[in-house]
């Protein structure tokens, strides 16, 4: 503890040099942490939007062809698949023939897992799961027909020779929910149809966006050569391959980050060597007083460590703040997205900062701590 003052005082020896060193380490670690977090942040941004992990699986022959209901279990068994929601079109109209809008039936048990981004309230999902005639309606359709929650409505079948009577239990509020959709329960539709056990489309949710291509492949290969072959597509088709395409770029970014750190490490080493060289006389005086070599070494390394860590904290803090501002100022990333610098990268950057501090001073500090006292004194006295 009594040496803390000594370390701090020595840092004020050449304030400008100390500040410049701290600042250059800060800049390099800012660049380092930003570049190294790029892949993680990008995948976080992408996987945070639920649409990037949703796959639509339909009949290879076309959207008008159906598939057996039993595919649900087989798709659910594919690796990385989190949820499967079968979907069938009803194609009903409200009052007039012109009152067309997309209405379809889905399985209620997995719907909430599948569309967490549609802005449906917890109670609405709950009612959707418990009430057999429940339906959820998009904002545009609500407005168009002046509907209100709790209202009972009848949709007239156009494909099917029957009508469905539904109760509105909630609204799909979020902007990324389809605004003119109406969804109701597939068990209701199935019953009315006399249980044919067929489905028009399966919505499949995968655990992470980078696993989307793999899951698509596994699903479609699983049904190859069957009576109803499938074609699966990512909801945001470009996203799945995005990470793949940028892998090389991310590698380069990482390598670049490491190069920046090494460069600054060398600059810091040069500065440390200079500042220790200037003090050889003083170090010799302290040694002659009886300060052991290892105490001198610890003092010199502590100084450099403080410089490194201060640089690291400033650099990390800046990167953290910039990411924060970037994520707040960018609604395109979606409201769910709250980009954080990954904590492991924060920790890694601080470790790198400490290493820059320790390694940059290691050789000159060790040499100074061990140097011949008499020779060093002769140089100054």
């Amino acid at each position: 503890m009594k040496y803390v003052m000594l370390v701090l005082k020595n840092l004020t020896r050449s304030k400008r040099r100390t500040l410049l060193t701290i600042f250059s380490i800060a800049v390099s670690l800012f660049i380092f942490s930003a570049l190294v977090s790029l892949p993680t942040v990008a995948s976080e941004v992408l996987s945070d939007t639920a649409s990037s992990v949703r796959i639509s699986t339909h009949n290879k022959a076309g959207l008008a062809y159906s598939m057996p209901e039993a595919y649900k279990q087989r798709i659910a068994a594919v690796p990385h698949v989190v949820a499967v929601t079968p979907e069938s079109w009803f194609g009903g109209i409200y009052h007039e023939v012109t009152d067309q809008f997309p209405n379809l039936a889905v399985d209620p048990d997995t719907a909430e897992t599948m569309w967490p981004d549609w802005g449906v309230s917890k109670e609405s999902w709950k009612k959707f799961e418990t009430l057999r005639t429940a339906c959820l309606v998009g904002t545009a359709t609500m407005k168009r027909f002046h509907l209100h929650v709790g209202q009972q409505i009848m949709l007239r079948g156009t494909i099917y020779p029957f009508n469905v009577t539904l109760q509105i239990v909630g609204v799909m509020q979020q902007s990324n929910a389809p605004p003119n959709f109406l969804i109701f329960r597939r068990d209701y539709l199935e019953e009315a149809r006399g249980r044919p056990g067929v489905v028009d489309n399966f919505w499949v949710m995968v655990d992470r966006s980078e696993n989307v291509p793999q899951a698509i492949k596994a699903i479609d290969e699983g049904f190859a050569n069957s009576t109803a072959e499938t074609r699966s597509e990512s909801e945001a088709a470009f996203i799945g391959s995005f990470m793949d395409n940028f892998r090389t770029f991310f590698r380069l970014a990482e390598i670049l980050g490491v190069i920046v750190v090494i460069t600054i490490g060398l600059v810091a080493a040069n500065t440390a060597a200079m500042s220790i060289r200037e003090r050889r006389g003083e170090i010799a005086v302290m040694r002659s007083m009886g300060f052991p070599s290892r105490t001198i070494l610890s003092l010199l390394l502590s100084e450099s460590l403080v410089i490194g860590l201060l640089g690291g904290i400033i650099g990390c803090g800046a990167a953290f703040a910039v990411l924060k501002i970037f994520s707040i100022g960018s609604p395109a990333l979606g409201p769910i997205t709250d980009i954080q610098m990954p904590p492991e990268i924060l920790a890694a950057t601080l470790v790198v900062a400490a290493l820059i501090g320790l390694l940059s001073a290691w050789i000159p500090a060790r040499a100074a701590a061990r140097m011949n006292i008499v020779d060093a004194l002769r140089m100054v006295a």
Binding site: Y3, R13, A381
Partner: protein
């Protein structure tokens, strides 16, 4: 080796090898300094004065011969033990003061005390006492650059005596000072010797110093060429005995 000698140097040879040349900086020097003396090592430049002092201070090693200080033989000590030994027994004063520029007078004097188990409060007391002795109690918070050469050297002396060392060694402590400041420093070292019974070994080529010391050892080309009594002026002697 005898307890009553503060410094006991027997047949010491110190050879420096520089490229293929050998420099015999000290050539078979034998010196015994009794305790509580103020002695000077004098001689022309390059005669081996600093080399001798460094051996006494335990920061250099004899090529052959034996060096005992304060009744303890240091010739064979390992550097780690030697460092601890220096911290306890030696107070060093240099020609160019060698204060740490980023530390205040107080902190400079406190520096060697960091090696002791003293508490912060105890250290403060010791430092204040040492600075009072050298007459700089009012300059504690000054940095070296805010002090004159004479004042800096007094801080350096306070730093050398604060640990209460067995022996104070000073290498040309007046070499860089004007006549008046030099006189002050010599008086201070005399007081240290007379009042606090410290052994003081001083290297100098300042003839005025002869008036302050008990004994003068003369070196020439690494050889001890004479041991003389000092020429303590009556005024100094009287002042010294009065205390």
């Amino acid at each position: 080796m005898d307890e009553k000698y503060a410094v006991d140097i027997e047949h010491v040879v110190r050879i420096y090898k520089r490229d293929e040349f050998e420099v015999r900086a000290l050539d078979d020097v034998t010196i015994r300094v009794p305790q509580a003396r103020f002695v000077a090592i004098m001689g022309p430049s390059g005669s081996g004065k600093t080399t001798l002092l460094n051996l006494i201070a335990g920061i250099d090693h004899a090529t052959s011969g034996k060096v005992s200080v304060g009744g303890e033989e240091i010739t064979g000590m390992k550097e780690r033990d030697l460092a601890a030994w220096r911290a306890r027994h030696i107070g060093l004063v240099f020609q160019f003061y060698n204060l740490i520029p980023v530390l205040t007078a107080f902190e400079n004097v406190e520096l060697p005390l960091l090696l002791t188990p003293l508490t912060k409060t105890e250290r403060r007391e010791h430092v204040e006492t040492a600075l009072r002795i050298v007459g700089l109690a009012d300059r504690m918070d000054h940095y070296p650059r805010q002090l004159s050469g004479g004042q800096e050297q007094r801080v350096a002396i306070a730093r050398a005596l604060v640990t209460d060392p067995t022996i104070v060694v000073a290498d040309e402590p007046t070499g860089d000072l004007d006549a008046k400041s030099a006189e002050e420093i010599l008086n201070l070292l005399t007081e240290l010797n007379r009042q606090f019974r410290r052994t003081v070994v001083m290297v100098t080529h300042d003839p005025r110093a002869e008036r302050f010391v008990d004994t003068v050892y003369r070196l020439d080309k690494g050889v001890l060429v004479g041991v003389e009594a000092g020429k303590i002026a009556p005024a100094h002697a009287a002042a010294a005995t009065a205390q």
